[in-house]
Structures are given as structure tokens and as C-alpha cells.
Symmetry: C2
Subunit: 464 residues, 2 copies
């Protein structure tokens, strides 16, 4: 965890599903902490290092569970408390409610003729979700100092507001959602009592934060329609941690990755995307748009490479495996159609490698970020901040980051593959002067905020 | 066409994709008219019989095209004019825009991670849609008497308002939508210029009608958000033509079908559904709910039959074929799981037979109408009006008919199969007295309006 000159915050409690550290035995058999996965943790971790704040998260690994057994663990000036809810309850809450229901709902990727199926088993999963939220709430109630500020993170933990308001009304609890928030009409997919419990749980926080006004407004509209009250909301987009990105960019791993990229791309133009393999990221239409671009702008045949650094996630869910296979077959078909000796039109790499992703973001001529819906999309900010070639950002208007970057990026409707193909061609064909102006404007917009400002907004909302 | 004592309406022009009559050669080689398919035509046809009104529709069959070649055809006191737009343009407009895009959008059945793909070919289809609308508009402009009332029907023909306002501002054109209308956030799936053209085209009518306030409000919200103006809207739910239903019910075909039903069902309880095979009708979750009902309420095993009279449609679209196959496999699996000698839990019949459907609606103990979204759903009204056994209506709150029947029906969230299973069990288990009260209330609500009132509402909107 980076050591930053942070002020003391012993009255701050952070609550998230996944913590910033994960524990494992080293070769000597000692339980040691290392940085965990997850964008939230890597943004928030450095901000609270050395502050004496408390961080409550679920134990994810065997090492985590061992650490949990020893209670509070102090590490890097943060007091970690890892929770071990019942494993099957946790699985149901995490996979069936959080990731298969709420994630799909807020990103609007349900195939509604078939999904969701709210069956009796689902109701058990909802009960498990409630129990896991209760487990987190109990830990907060037990550990939080009098009048502490509690920052509850994301869609896994929506019910703590109501639980804490009942048990610890002295606490100043704020919720922050990292996903989009669906429109009131979309909420109707869930059973009424679930919608009521979810919104009541969130609304009982001192305030609910989102990455853009759009999601805050959608949440507020849902509360007004269902609960009859307007909630307290705020919009505060997260930003990348530039210092830590620059550290990766200066690393030997990154230099080696850049060399390998140079060998792959040569003097061709380079389109890049960096994403989880995730239906909401709209990988399929991105590749179809590229295919269409080659057909309609044949001047780019053999003169461009599309580098897709996309890595598997949630492969415990059948939808994600199916989506990956569909993507791999599509890429293979496009490469068969266009490829020739010495030129692979799409280079697909599904291994997660941060240094290589950073190298690609430094080097792109065009960055494609085309989600069907996205809470924010940090890559859309990281790319322009890292890029050294006046690269062009092609950005979906359905990403939360659109509110900050849309004025300067080349905007697309993510469902419009013809429009996306045209946007890619326009981005590739932009003259040097326009690229320079564009890149400067997008970089400025992407760099206007910091993780610290984002944290401060939550603290301010708690203090109001 | 029924001969009704209608008032003369030579200044009335009806415009719909499919007309109330279709033409074919008889054995003697003469071109003769017979009643066509389609709920709209069967509702509206009798109302304008003998009035001298003009009806403009697309030629569907070879016989239609022969009739079209001879210009206006007078039949049953209505002047038919059949149009023959370019066949490929018509196919693209009908299949790719109307049925694969607008239908899916308004019923919210896109699998948005994959559909729609607005590619360059789609834009050609949109151009074809515009041309087909132009073809209808030109015919209206040519044939409509001075100051005539023009009733434009449904989502195939949304652009006539703007076209006629420019060419024939003397006409009083009203549009009526038979589907739901999607929320403003859902409209964002389409390219902005398409949304603008669609809403402008509709809004330029004197008024736009819908089956419920909900769809009218959604359309109005879209217009305000996109065009900055509130459109003139009205809500006017269609109703079944009771007389013609009773005529079918009194027919020999229906008596024979009732006998066959009696033999199939015996003294078991009877759940019925009558639908097109259509993803928005939510057939899959209906069968899963029945399966769940048998598991959780085993007292109904062998004591109930689920009769599904569902008939294929739009099988030129891969989605519809896939949906039918998925449904057939699901029904087979449920029948394998529960079936025993002498009892088939689900009797699935995919042949379209009006007399048999009417017989089933007379005889049900429970009628299941569970669409994920539906403009109105006439079956939800026809069933209670025909039923002779104090049958119970289980109705989705996402059907337009919910506004009229929701207070008295057993309501369900169509995504909630557990809730639907409970609703089926509750409906089957209702005591005779409650059933009698329920059936009376639902029948009254279903019979409160007539097709004539619906037509009058459109005429009144045109006159304003």
C-alpha cells in the first residue's frame, strides 16, 4: 500500500465487498498481506494508508480467512477487519443477487424474454444477500467509533443504510455506487418488496453517491416513485491514481511490454481496447464495427492492428463463459476474413497483465471504449493520461465518463456499429494537428479530478 | 365483413399495414375477398362496413396484388386501396425495422449485449421504412377527400404525420399505437436521428393514441426530452367485439372443440393460455411457473391440465424459431418430469384455430396472461367475457389491460416465476364464492368498453 502523507482518520470506516489487501502464507509460513485485485481498492487504498482508518471487507482467500480468525489486523496504518459470512450464503448473495441480478439490471443487459427468473431459489438468494449485508452491518456497529463516518461501497452492500440507522444512528453513513443505476421503469423487473427494501436500504444513508448525475437522477426518480421521498444524492466521478499509473509506466515490465508491442504493431496504426470480458463492455459490437470499418474503408486494410487486451472474469457464471466463447469465435472469423501473411487484423489477448495494458494505453492511436452502459469507465481516463502519441478517444455516450469527456471525445451510440465503424475511421484518419488538439483536451478533462477529491466528496456528504 | 348499421363516413380514411380483407381467386377464377388475419382488422372492420370509408393497406398475397392492380375495390361498403411498394423495400421495412427493431424496442425484449446491431445495412432498412411510409402517405394524399379524417394504425406507419402535414395540411390525421411505447431511456438504443424522425413523424399527427396512459406518458416523455415539445396524446383501450366472439362461441366448430376439450381435460382443473408464440408473451416463464407450482403445491399433481394454445408467427425471424424450439423443449422436459399414464401436465398445441381457442376460453378455471410487456392484450378481456365457469384471471401488471383489469385480477410481476406459481395455486384453490365474485368483477371491467367507443375516441381526437 502506497505511503502517502494522509491525515489521521481514526473515525473513518470503509466498508466494501473486496478489501485492498489479500493475505497469504509466504515461503516462511508467515501470513503476509499483498495488494488485492479490484479497481475500487486500488483507488481508495492509498488514500487511507497510514490514517488509522478501519476497513471492513469479506475474506476472499484461505489466507484472508486465517487473517479474519485473528480479528483486527493492522497493516500500513489501516485496521483491517475481514468478515467470514457463511460460505454458501455469501456465494448466493455475491453470484446470484449482486452479480447475476443487480449488475445485469443496472447495466441493462438482461435478455428480458428469458432473464431474470425470480424463482423460489432466488428468494433464498435475496435472503442470503440480506444476511450478508447484516453481517457487514453488525461488524460496523461493533467496530465504528462514536459518530464515525462510514463509507459503504457499491451494489453488494445496499442495505446497510437502513440497518445502521436502526442500530447506530450516531454514525454518518454514506453509500457510493460504482455501477450505473437503472431507470424506474427498469426497476419494475424486480419484485416490489425487493425494490422497496433495496431503495429503503440505500436511501437511509446520509447520502448516496454516483459517478454521474445521470445515475443519481435515476436513483432519485426510483425513490420518488417507490418511496415517495427524494433521497439525498451527490455525483462525484472517480479518477485514476496518476502517480501509481506513472509508476507502472516507468517499470521494467512496462518497457519490456512496449518492446513486444512495437514488434507486433510495427509501423501500423494501433487501435486498443482494455476491458474485462463482460457483456456490458460491448466487445462483440466493437469487433463487428472494426470489421465493418475494414469493409467500408479498405484503405486501412493491412495498415492497422486492433489490440484487444481483455481478460476473463466471473467465469463461474455461464453467461460470461458463453460471452467469451462468442467473442473468440467472432474474432477468429474476422481474422480469417481479412488476415494475410504478416498481418493479423485483431490481436486478442485474454491474459490480465497490468504492465502490458499500460504499455498499450501509452501507445494507442485510437482507444475504443464502447460499453452499452458503464458506471464510469476508468480506462477512458487512464488512456488519455498515459498516452504519448496524441491518440484519439472513441467513447460511448452510455459510459459515466461521458459527462466529463463527451465534449471532447469522438462520441458513439454503442448500439450503432455503423456509426462506431465511421468513428474508428475518422479517428484513424485525423490529421496530426487535430489529434494533438483532441488529445490535449481529452487529457485535460481526464486529469481534472483525483481520487482524493472523490474521497473528499464522500466525506463532505457524510458531514452534511 | 359484418353488416352493421353504421353511419356514412365517406370522409374517413383508415391506413394500416394489413387490411381487413385479403383477395384470392375462387374455383371459378374470380377474384374474391375474404376476411384476413390480424386483430386490428377484425376489430375495426365491422365498424366501418357500409360507411363508404376508404381503407389503405399493403397488398399481402398474390390475389391482393391482382386486386391492387385494378385500383380501388369496393367491398361491403368500404373502398379498399391496396398498395404494392417495392417487395424488397417492403420486406426490409416490415421485418428489419418494424418487427425486428421497433417491436423489440417497445416490448423491451432486446438482449442488449447483442441486439440491436445498427449496421450500415440497418440504415438501408430504415431508408426502406421511410420509403414505405412515403408510399402510404402518397396514397392518402391522393385519395383522401378535402378535410378528411385519417386514422393511421400502429408502429409500421409512424412517419405519416409529418409527411401529410407537409403535403395535405387540410387532413385530420390521428395515429394509434397498438404496441407499448418504450421509456425515454430505452429510446437511446436507436441512433439520435432515427429517434428524432420517429417522434417527429408521430407528433405531427393531430394526436397520438395508445391503449393506456402508461404508453401515452412514455411517448410524451420521449417527445419532451427529444423534441422539447409535449405532443397531443390520448389513451383509449381497445375492447373485443363481443358479438363476433359470441357468434364463434355458438358455432358448430366451437361445440366440437368443446367436446374434444372435455375428453382431454375430464374432471381436472384447467389452466389455459392463448397467445402467439412471441418472446414478449413470456411463454417460458409461464411454463416454469407451472412446473414450480406442481413442485410446491403437490396437491395439484394429476388434478390440473395446462392447455397452451399458442401458434407460430414471424417464423421468418430466427429469434422466433429459436423461441418456439426453446418452448417446445421446456414443455417436453416438464411433461417428462411430471407426466404419468393418463395425465399430460401440459397440452401444447401450436395450430391456430379460433373456434378451439374460444372453446378453451369458455372452459378455463384459470387464464394465464403473463406478458413481459404488452400494448393491451385482448385475450385478457376476451377470456372473462366468454368464460362460463367463474374462471380466474392471472394477469401481468406489464400488460396494457392491467389499467382496466388490474384491480380485480390476480396480479403478477411477469419476471417473478415464484410469484406466478403462487398466483396459479391461489387461483386454482379459490373457493366457489370468491371465484364467482372475482369472475363477475373482471367480466364487468372487461366489458365496459367496445370497439365502437375506441373508434369514436380516435374520431374525437381528429376533430379537436
Amino acid at each position: 500500500m502506497a505511503s502517502v502523507a494522509n491525515v489521521a482518520r481514526v473515525d473513518l470506516v470503509i466498508v466494501s465487498n473486496r478489501g485492498p489487501l489479500t493475505f497469504a502464507r509466504d515461503v516462511a509460513g508467515r501470513l503476509v498481506a499483498r495488494q488485492g485485485a479490484g479497481g475500487l481498492a486500488s483507488s481508495l487504498g492509498p488514500l487511507v494508508a497510514g490514517t488509522g482508518a478501519t476497513w471492513i471487507a469479506a475474506a476472499m482467500s484461505d489466507g484472508d480467512r486465517e487473517a479474519a480468525a485473528s480479528g483486527l489486523v493492522e497493516e500500513g496504518g489501516v485496521r483491517f477487519h475481514l468478515l467470514t459470512p457463511d460460505a454458501e450464503q455469501y456465494r448466493m448473495a455475491y453470484e446470484e443477487v449482486s452479480n447475476s441480478t443487480l449488475w445485469f439490471l443496472h447495466h441493462r443487459i438482461f435478455d428480458l424474454a428469458r432473464q431474470p427468473r425470480i424463482d423460489h431459489h432466488w428468494w433464498d438468494a435475496w435472503e442470503a444477500y440480506r444476511e450478508v449485508n447484516r453481517c457487514f452491518s453488525d461488524a460496523v456497529a461493533e467496530l465504528a467509533p462514536d459518530g464515525a463516518t462510514v463509507l459503504v461501497q457499491d451494489y453488494h452492500l445496499t442495505l446497510l443504510g437502513a440497518m445502521l440507522a436502526a442500530e447506530r444512528p450516531d454514525l454518518r453513513a454514506v453509500h457510493f455506487t460504482h455501477t450505473p443505476f437503472c431507470d424506474p421503469g427498469e426497476l419494475r423487473v424486480l419484485p416490489d418488496p425487493v425494490v422497496h427494501e433495496l431503495l429503503t436500504g440505500m436511501e437511509a444513508h446520509r447520502a448516496c453517491g454516483f459517478h454521474t448525475e445521470r445515475w443519481a437522477d435515476a436513483f432519485a426518480a426510483g425513490c420518488r416513485a417507490t418511496l415517495g421521498v427524494p433521497p439525498r444524492t451527490f455525483a462525484s466521478p472517480l479518477a485514476p491514481d496518476i502517480e501509481s499509473l506513472r509508476k507502472v509506466a516507468a517499470s521494467e515490465d512496462c518497457a519490456a511490454a512496449t518492446e513486444r508491442l512495437d514488434a507486433t504493431v510495427g509501423d501500423r496504426h494501433l487501435i486498443v481496447r482494455v476491458d474485462r470480458i463482460e457483456p456490458s463492455k460491448n466487445l462483440l459490437r466493437g469487433f463487428v464495427a472494426y470489421d465493418d470499418m475494414l469493409a467500408r474503408h479498405p484503405e486501412w486494410v493491412e495498415r492497422v492492428v486492433f489490440l484487444a487486451f481483455v481478460y476473463p472474469s466471473r467465469e463461474g457464471l455461464a453467461d460470461y463463459v458463453a460471452y467469451r466463447l462468442e467473442m473468440e469465435q467472432l474474432v477468429a472469423a474476422i481474422n480469417r476474413r481479412w488476415g494475410r501473411r504478416g498481418w493479423t487484423p485483431i490481436v486478442l489477448d485474454i491474459h490480465d497483465d497490468v504492465a502490458r495494458s499500460v504499455a498499450a494505453l501509452q501507445r494507442y492511436d485510437v482507444l475504443l471504449v464502447n460499453p452499452v452502459r458503464d458506471g464510469l469507465n476508468l480506462v477512458a481516463k487512464e488512456g488519455p493520461l498515459l498516452n504519448t502519441r496524441d491518440g484519439v478517444l472513441v467513447l460511448s455516450r452510455e459510459a459515466g465518463a461521458w459527462a466529463e469527456l463527451g465534449q471532447d471525445a469522438i462520441g458513439i451510440n454503442p448500439f450503432d456499429v455503423g456509426g462506431t465503424a465511421d468513428a474508428l475511421a475518422a479517428a484513424l484518419g485525423m490529421d496530426a494537428r487535430s489529434r494533438h488538439t483532441h488529445a490535449g483536451l481529452v487529457r485535460d478533462a481526464a486529469g481534472r479530478r483525483s481520487p482524493q477529491v472523490w474521497l473528499d466528496d464522500q466525506m463532505a456528504a457524510a458531514a452534511r
